[in-house]
């Protein structure tokens, strides 16, 4: 299983963390970011979400984020999984797992990874609201 993936299916956080933990006995801290579908966005009640990605390029950008994270932070392993397709309220959207010896490095790196993912990864969110469907433009 790849350490970065885009997939339709849900993921198990335990399984992803286990895969990361197995890469090094020096791991003492694992910081995880999980993004989930909120019921309200920009004041509108959300009925559901749909994510689209540029297949190939999205995976390439996630791999690039992982490589830069491993190079620029004092961390031991990074895994990123992003779902696409229809996603309901409360469901998992994205998971970032960062493992390091000491916790500060994992916290800093995990925050950087999710910011960078939002900035450079060709993935788009459509929100289904009572007023209709809206493509969200978060990062111009």
């Amino acid at each position: 299983m790849e350490m970065v993936r885009v997939q339709r299916e849900d993921f198990s956080i335990d399984e992803e963390i286990e895969r990361v933990k197995k890469t090094s006995k020096a791991i003492g801290a694992v910081v995880t970011f999980l993004g989930t579908g909120r019921d309200i966005s920009r004041g509108e009640r959300i009925q559901g979400l749909e994510f689209e990605h540029y297949e190939g390029m999205a995976e390439k950008k996630l791999a690039e984020i992982r490589n830069r994270a491993l190079k620029n932070f004092n961390v031991l392993e990074v895994a990123i999984v992003h779902r696409v397709g229809k996603i309901g309220i409360g469901e998992n959207i994205v998971l970032i797992v960062v493992a390091s010896q000491h916790r500060n490095d994992a916290f800093m790196c995990c925050e950087w990874c999710i910011s960078e993912l939002k900035r450079i990864t060709p993935i788009w969110k459509k929100e289904f609201t009572e007023k209709g469907e809206i493509w969200v433009e978060e990062h111009p």
Binding site: Y54, H82, I114, L117, T121, W124, E137, E138
Partner: protein, 82 residues
């Protein structure tokens, strides 16, 4: 032929996911964008205001990037993953 792809809101606006555009010799992305705006005037708002990113063969590109036969160019509206 250059394979041109539209994603998310641009796909909806253009009404197509992919178009094939013939190019003769090397042109710049700027030249290709002019052709795209001729074919799809609804793209002007995004391209003139740079309210998008453009990739060539899955790498981010600038208006100066050279495009050649067989390339894949994608018009990418602002991302909203995560």
């Amino acid at each position: 032929m250059v394979r041109v792809r539209f994603f998310a809101i641009l796909k909806d606006r253009v009404g197509k996911e992919v178009v094939e555009i013939p190019v003769s010799g090397n042109i710049t992305l700027r030249d290709l964008e002019e052709k795209v705006m001729e074919m799809f005037p609804q793209m002007e708002e995004y391209l003139r205001g740079r309210r998008l990113l453009v990739s060539v063969n899955q790498e981010f590109a600038t208006p100066e990037t050279v495009i050649k036969d067989g390339d894949e160019v994608a018009f990418l509206p602002p991302f909203s993953g995560g």
